[in-house]
Amino acid sequence: MIKSEICELLSIEYPIFQGGMAWISDGSLAAAVSNAGGLGIIAAGNAPQDYVREQIKVARELTNKPIGVNIMLLSPFADEVAKVVADEKVEVVTTGAGNPSKYMELWKSAGIKVIPVVASAAMAKLMERLGACAVIAEGGESGGHIGEMATMPLVPQVCDAVKLPVVAAGGIADGRGVAAAFMLGACAVQMGTRFLSADECSIHPNYKEKVLSAKDRCTVVTGRRLGHPVRSLRTQFSNDYQKVEYDSSVSDAELEALAGGALRLAVQEGDLKKGCFLAGQAASMVNKRQKASEIIKEVADEAEIILKRASIWVK
């Protein structure tokens, strides 16, 4: 059995997080992951407080294990959602797309364990100083908003920079990835893309199908021009976007408008033309429809075999 200090710290069985995914990871998916012994995380995305409160309630009805909420700091509702998680006393808060400094005191005083996503060593250090209990080092292989560093060089550098437990994310979709993350110094992993195929993940069937049929070079990064690069599956939307992204006659506002609502179209309507299907480079490693619990067990079992065998390289 794969165990690490993260398991004791968060009272979970497996050192595996299901990353918050805007519009996607709701109370049901998070509860399924937590029930399976991992850490399920509800994504607040750009949603208002009522949605988040409702999803926490859904998850609490389905599980009595710890759950997390991910707060997207670019969200117009970040302030109100920050208060909701403190009221509801969720066990863990993860943050994405920015610097959560201004909420740290509120969350810590509510007894919440704060685990920010970081894309650089300096950011990890700053989070340590502000009282984070761990950090998630996420490489640009991942789906969604991304940083520029890849997981392989980022994780060891973050491990060197802080004394906190480090959770590796980005490009991890099977036991080999988990084992590699441990070798790099991490003591847990966060996966997003792999959970897109989970039975409890209620995305549109077209979305699931696109992930299941993806090949290795199927993802692209758009949005660099606006300073918010995003990795998604190559589709009509990403092609259209890329055509205008570096066309100076198209204003930033027009570009922003083009992307607005595109994730919702993918998740809820399965719109293959206008939808933005966020997924990481590991999408092509996701080949089966499974229960969240099967994903966790399979990935952990694979990692265990690989880590046990790792000593064969030492002669």
């Binding site: 610097n99 400094s101 650089s120 700053l126 940083g147």
Partner: protein
Amino acid sequence: MLFETIAKIIAERTGCDVSSVKPESTFAELGIDSLDTVELLMSLEDEIGMEIELDQKVTTVDDLVKFVESKKQD
């Protein structure tokens, strides 16, 4: 003094000439994004020997100089 220290750190980070960093230069013009700002502050802390918690938006180099000076007085 503080301005020179900051200009030197920026020049090291971005590879630009230190003389091209002016008080009125914006971080965006200098190619410094939000993650770079965090690193910049860490290097600055090492140089001046105090912790800086940036709790407001700074657009230009001069904004940062003024911010740090105000913290030094507290």
